[in-house]
């Protein structure tokens, strides 16, 4: 009973908010149309009499508040006006077309954010002040600082476009350099080893093994990199070895002047750098570039899936409009795979911000719980640490996350505007940017209203869930 009174109270409280928002959106729309709401209904070809007729038919010649009330009545009846950007179709129809795409994207993003955030937050809290914690905290901080549109573009660049040839070349040049330095370590190491081996000392098993291991390393290098490379390294090593050994013989280990050592090393480095390098690094980097998966640039599915149109009916005539669900229900795994691939990049881009927020709050909440007495009791009982965290701590730490998910929903819908535009996702967000581009105020206001209502509903659901999750919270 209490539940229903609470629900009723919340719904009643939502009414002034929604009214206020409709007032805001309507006045903005009014302002954007310079007080003439008929603009969307009028085309340039109409005569003055026709314009007047349209105005009278829709009541556009009435004062502001009368029109506002008309607008409200329209809203109650599900009439949001027409969308200029979508060939003057009814906005409610446009919604019906675009909503499933946005819903699917947002839901997948929420799942990514929840799973990732909870996992990272727990990890961070249990490893407090260890490297993992620092890395996770940075990841979370980066998530709230990174511009979502930039992230989307970078994602596209890294995983969707094919790498431009000159980038691969340049990266190969970097790889070359890195490998160069790695390779230069080899003669230096061998040189020092040889110098050490030349010390007048009794032969021991240790030294024999040492030499054998050098042989092994050389063999390995020949096997991997080819003769010319290893030969060059070997030559330079021998030079270093003899030079060092001679110095050691003459002056003893500790008395070699540092700059002579550096001169010898530098000389060898240069020689081997010039001689040795035959493109190993660039080959490796090329291979790494080959390994990065290539995902679709944008959209919900490939053209091959839609062509011919009757090949995958689950995509074109699905029941829910959520393509993942539709294709899975129909058992059409080819289409499912395609749709899933299209979802990866936009969903990660969209979900990262929420993931970061959830990870931060999860960490704080987890740290608080871990310091409580019942956790200590659980540990004292001898329950393994894994179980303590999984069953005692994390379950309780999850409660505040429910609120956060509700609150980030608004951010997700806002972010969807950017993400959908970047990934050409045929959803509400992209429609709204198109509307912005062509100054279609009616559509933008409808979108705003929609976002607000979704946001309010999401938060109501979350508050109700909250009381289920945490019996201590009273509904009031």
């Amino acid at each position: 009973m209490k539940f229903w009174t609470y629900l009723l109270r919340r719904l009643i409280l939502a009414i002034p908010v929604i009214l206020g928002i409709t007032l805001i959106t309507f006045s903005i729309s009014w302002e954007a149309n310079q007080g003439d709401m008929s603009r969307a209904y009028i085309s340039a070809k109409m005569t003055a009499a026709q314009v007047q007729a349209v105005k009278e038919a829709h009541g556009f010649d009435k004062p502001f508040f009368v029109q506002y009330l008309t607008y409200l009545r329209g809203l109650v009846n599900g009439d949001l006006g027409i969308s200029h950007t979508q060939n003057d179709r009814l906005i409610t129809q446009v919604f019906a077309d675009f909503f499933p795409a946005t819903l699917e994207l947002t839901l997948v993003a929420v799942v990514i954010a929840l799973v990732g955030g909870v996992f990272l937050g727990t990890l961070s809290a249990t490893q407090k002040d260890k490297p993992v914690d620092h890395a996770t905290r940075f990841l979370a901080l980066a998530g709230v600082s990174v511009p979502i549109f930039w992230l989307g573009l970078l994602m596209k660049f890294a995983f969707a476009t094919s790498f431009p040839q000159d980038i691969v070349e340049r990266a190969s040049a970097v790889g070359k350099t890195v490998f160069l330095f790695l390779a230069l370590l080899v003669p230096v190491g061998i040189g020092f080893f040889a110098a050490e081996a030349m010390q007048p000392r009794a032969l021991s098993w240790n030294r024999i093994f040492g030499r054998l291991s050098v042989l092994g390393v050389v063999g390995g290098l020949i096997f991997f990199f080819g003769w010319s490379f290893v030969f060059a390294v070997f030559v330079s090593s021998v030079i270093v070895a003899f030079a060092l050994a001679a110095l050691v013989k003459v002056r003893g280990w500790s008395r070699i002047p540092k700059r002579i050592v550096w001169a010898i090393l530098g000389g060898t480095l240069l020689v081997s750098a010039i001689v040795a390098f035959s493109g190993v690094g660039s080959i490796v980097v090329h291979d790494i570039f080959e390994l990065v998966p290539r995902l679709p640039l944008g959209g919900r599915m490939s053209n091959e899936i839609l062509n011919p149109p009757e090949a995958h009916p689950s995509v074109t005539h699905g029941r829910t409009g959520l393509l993942l669900v539709d294709t899975a229900l129909a058992g059409d795994w080819v289409a499912f795979n395609d749709v899933a691939q299209h979802l990866v990049l936009p969903a990660i881009t969209l979900g990262y911000f929420s993931l970061a927020i959830i990870a931060r709050i999860m960490r704080a909440s987890m740290l608080e719980i871990l310091s409580l007495d019942f956790v200590r009791t659980a540990r004292a009982k001898g329950i393994p640490e894994r179980e303590v965290i999984r069953r005692h701590a994390r379950r309780n730490a999850l409660i505040p996350i429910a609120t956060v998910v509700g609150l980030t929903f608004g951010g997700l819908l806002g972010g969807a505007v950017l993400t959908e535009t970047i990934f050409q996702w045929p959803g509400l967000g992209r429609w709204s940017t198109q509307a912005i581009g062509s100054g279609d105020a009616q559509s933008i206001m409808a979108f705003t209203l929609f976002v607000v209502i979704v946001y309010l509903i999401a938060n109501l659901i979350v508050d109700l869930l909250y009381s289920l999750l945490d019996p201590r919270v009273r509904l009031s």
Partner: protein
């Protein structure tokens, strides 16, 4: 148990004031990094004319944007290599080791866009816009929020009720979407309309924050004492209440400077600041470069975005650090 004495000559500063704050900030590396980032951006903003000088002939009418208010307060300098587009056209000329095939290294370190615009100029001058936008919008929000929140929290009554309802509406909206709606009403894409829209959506946060704090502070005995000694309300509010509620506001404002710039960049990316490619706003630069990323000109997008990222990261780091210092219980 004995605690070890601090080494001689080591005196912890008094437990209040900026000296103490600085003493604590020094101990936390992340906060310091944030502080350092912010200092770098401030320097960029202040010394932009020195770091990226605009030749006199380019300051003239030829590159002065037309019809967009907000731009005329700023020079539009970042087409600096129009005179010499070949110098580093569509190249990223920072040499990696072993790759010295480019001569234009010194002229455009961040490369140039397809228009021949120098990304480095855009990034440097963009710092000015971002600092002004972030600080300006946040300060406006703080001032409005402070005044309204003090009044609502102190006097209560119908004012409080109305403000609560209004802020409820604003706080139940995603800021980005609301800001979009407001800018559309201006029918005018410019920096000013973006700043104005952001200021409109940002004040409710502070109003709620201040109001809540005032309700707590109001119950203190020193306020009672001040009232009893017959001080006027405005004096108590300014002299006794405001200083005691500043900490959470400072924290929130620091974090919000970053968020404001992030949101402004998003709005700018959508295309709300200007249609002119001359405006060096970071979000705008990303938008201008985005079409070329597919052809491999990644620097047109990466560097302006990196500038936004660093700016926001700096303020988030500092804000987080300040929260731990000033407001330990408020840490989320």
């Amino acid at each position: 148990m004995t605690t070890p004495l601090p080494p001689t000559g080591h005196v912890a500063p008094r437990q209040r004031g900026f000296r103490f704050l600085w003493y604590r900030v020094r101990k936390s590396p992340l906060t310091l990094i944030g502080f350092g980032l912010i200092v770098i951006y401030l320097l960029l903003a202040i010394f932009a004319p020195i770091l990226a000088p605009v030749p006199a002939e380019q300051r003239g009418d030829a590159y002065a944007p037309v019809g967009h208010e907000g731009e005329d307060i700023l020079p539009a300098p970042w087409f600096t290599n129009v005179n010499n587009p070949v110098a580093c056209a569509s190249k990223w000329p920072i040499p990696v080791i072993g790759w010295f095939d480019h001569s234009a290294t010194m002229t455009c370190p961040f490369g140039t866009s397809n228009h021949g615009a120098d990304i480095y100029y855009g990034v440097v001058w963009g710092a000015r816009i971002s600092v002004a936008m972030g600080v300006g919008v946040t300060m406006t929000g703080v001032i409005i929020g402070l005044v309204l929140g003090l009044l609502a929290g102190w006097y209560g009554g119908w004012l409080d009720e109305i403000l609560l309802r209004i802020t409820d509406i604003f706080l139940s909206l995603p800021l980005l979407v609301l800001a979009i709606a407001i800018i559309v009403a201006f029918r005018n894409a410019s920096l000013w309309s973006v700043a104005f829209a952001l200021a409109i959506v940002w004040w409710p946060t502070y109003t709620r924050l201040v109001r809540g704090q005032v309700l707590v502070i109001r119950e203190n005995q020193y306020i009672e004492a001040a009232k009893a000694s017959g001080l006027p309300d405005w004096y108590i509010l300014i002299r006794h209440v405001t200083p005691n509620i500043l900490s959470p506001i400072v924290v929130q404002a620091t974090l919000d400077i970053g968020s404001v710039v992030l949101t402004a960049a998003a709005l700018s990316y959508i295309g709300f600041t200007s249609n002119s490619p001359l405006l060096p706003e970071w979000g705008r630069l990303v938008a201008l470069g985005q079409d070329y990323i597919a052809t491999g000109q990644w620097w047109t997008v990466v560097f302006p975005g990196l500038a936004i990222f660093g700016f926001v990261l700096g303020f988030n780091l500092l804000g987080d650090g300040l929260r731990d210092l000033l407001d330990p219980r408020g840490a989320r």
